[in-house]
Amino acid sequence: MKHLIMGAAAALMLTTANFAYAEAIKLEGGKATNMVLLPKFLGILVFDQANEGAQEAHKELANSGELQFVGPTPENSVAGQIEIMTTSGTQGVGAIMLSNNAGDQITPSAEAAQKAGAKVVTWDSPIPGGKGEDVFVAQVDFGSIGVVMADMAHSILGGKGKMAVLSASADASNQNAWIDAMKAALAADPKYADIELVDVVYGDDQAEVSYNRALALVDKYPDLGLIMSPTTVGIQASAKAMQDEGLCDKVKVSGLGLPSEMVSYTMNGCAPEFALWDFRDLGYLTYMTAYGLATGQLKGEIGETFTAGRMGDYSIEADPGREGAKRILMGPFTIYNKDNVEAAAK
């Protein structure tokens, strides 16, 4: 009975809390603010897609300021991101939208940019410590990515076998969070008991490095059944490596991939299942958020709800993965297999 009452009270509190913010803020277009979209580095399809989404939102909101898509080269990613962040602060832009590849090393420059008046909105990959960041636009709930990857591993391996992870760079906070979430998911449910995670290696999101790391995994673990790669570069490189070496019957590939890049590997059985969210949507939502903050229409406080154009209403909430940090959760994501990958690749 006591529980019931407490439950009812809690429910009531939740309802009133919702009530306070029931009115979603409508973003007013036509205000001028310069914005910078800063990807991890240039030359990756998903970041180009995010840019398309941001450009779409830029036009829709009729922002007469400029939206710049600037990024570093892959081999100069960390120093390059810090440099662009610093320069953007100097330029006095209204908002910087960052997919962080520099770990906490970006913090001093991000804080300097904030001090210069810019809003820092991270997307795809946040600042691990949360300092120097106004809000993180999370593509999907990081915990649920873990469960999805564990489930794909379970279905591909038939419930039993050895799996290795091929990730991006060792300090990529998004990938690390997802791998941890997958480990937690594997440990939480006895149905995964016979799936063994033997290794985690890093291909630095570079195709050649990832390709070689995938082959090294196969050499190191002769009875490996699955390579799980939570990055679009890694999954494609792994699938290509397995296909080139004729290993697809033995070692399957799964993880997070782009339908257009993975379609052939899914159809020939090298990568029977993989998952992803829409990066255009992520770019669109990130832009809407950053525009709202930069023009003062959003305060960036927990509980604020706003309408992000065609995508509907979103709320700012506490980030469960990072203490003291805030996020906006986009979600959900799609699992691709033989049945739907061809349509999505077009």
């Binding site: 990024g71 570093p72 080269t73 960390v78 440099e83 001093p108 420059s109 300090d171």
Partner: protein, 319 residues
């Protein structure tokens, strides 16, 4: 010598042109904050370029500086995690730099191995050690005063690292251009055999130079750690190429014996201003790299064109 001076004149003209373009094209360029950031963003590389000038004039090369920076920065993070007080950790890191540099110098000078090979080996070795120490993670949360040293102004808006750079430039300028040590550096670089016959202890000289280089790299690693407030295994990977590019662009001959610190300084200013200007114009990374590459090719080709001229005229004269 007159050719060198004319090269520096050429660099000066380039610098003025780039500076002028930047000032006209981007309103933010001349701001004090931007001028300081311009140095601060590459401060470690430009400090290393000063010492690299000595090494290359001496007809050697040190490819291990980026890895030594990484090793020093990671050692610092690792030691702090073990509970070492920061001042002691700084001393240990500098000690690592001295030891690493001495090791390079000893292999080159005493065993007579090519510095290209020795420092390529330590490039891999030092980086490996750094990665073993921090594994695959980032280490941050340094003491506040340490972060402040790297991120805030020490005298007004001017940060510690920039002051260190200026002091170091003056000291090294005197050492290279106004001291016996400097003369020896040129002589050994021009012709080591002659230097040996002249009774110069060339091996000792080279060991000192490589030890200077290792120490400077360790110092630069600490500056980097303070500037970005966190370290990981790939800190400063590939920096050596940028540093060598700056030095060669400054007119220092890769074959040794020729070059000046003023040339290196002009080259530093050109590269920094060019990068900053392009960044302020929102020109992306690939194009920036391409432009710096073209500049380096030009710096190698243009002096050659001057030398080749007389030979090209000859056939006409005989005809």
């Amino acid at each position: 010598m007159s050719r060198l001076q004319s090269w520096e004149g050429f660099l000066l003209v380039c610098l003025i042109v780039i500076f002028g373009f930047n000032a006209v094209l981007t309103p933010e360029f001349l701001g004090i904050g931007n001028q300081i950031n311009l140095f601060q963003l590459s401060i470690e590389k430009i400090i290393l370029a000063l010492v690299m000038t000595f090494i290359i004039i001496n007809a050697e090369i040190d490819l291990s500086i980026g890895s030594m920076m990484g090793l020093s920065a990671c050692s610092f993070g690792y030691l702090l995690q073990l509970g070492t007080p920061a001042p002691l950790a700084i001393l240990i890191c500098l000690g690592v730099g001295i030891a690493g540099g001495f090791l390079n110098g000893w292999f080159v000078a005493r065993l007579g191995l090519p510095s290209l090979v020795v420092t390529l080996a330590t490039l891999i070795g030092f980086r490996g050690l750094a990665r073993v120490m921090v594994e695959d993670r980032g280490i941050g949360d340094f003491p506040e005063w340490f972060d402040a040293l790297g991120q805030q102004g020490l005298i007004g808006p001017i940060p510690f690292a920039l002051i260190a750079f200026v002091v170091l430039f003056v000291l090294l300028y005197v050492l290279l251009e106004r001291s016996g040590f400097g003369r020896k550096t040129y002589v050994i670089g021009s012709n080591r055999d002659v230097a040996d016959f002249a009774g110069i202890d060339t091996a000792r000289h080279k060991i000192i130079l490589f030890t200077m280089s290792g120490t400077a790299a360790a110092f630069a690693g600490l500056l980097y750690a303070a500037r970005v407030g966190a370290v990981r295994g790939d800190v400063a990977a590939g920096f050596e190429l940028d540093v060598i590019t700056i030095v060669l662009l400054g007119g220092v001959s890769i074959f040794g014996g020729k070059g000046t610190l003023v040339g290196t300084l002009l080259s530093i200013l050109i590269v920094l201003n060019l990068r900053n200007g392009m960044a302020l114009l929102n020109i992306t990374g690939h194009i920036q790299t391409g432009v710096i590459g073209l500049l380096l090719i030009a710096s190698v080709v243009i002096p050659r064109l001057k030398l080749a001229k007389p030979r090209a005229i000859k056939p006409e004269a005989t005809a």
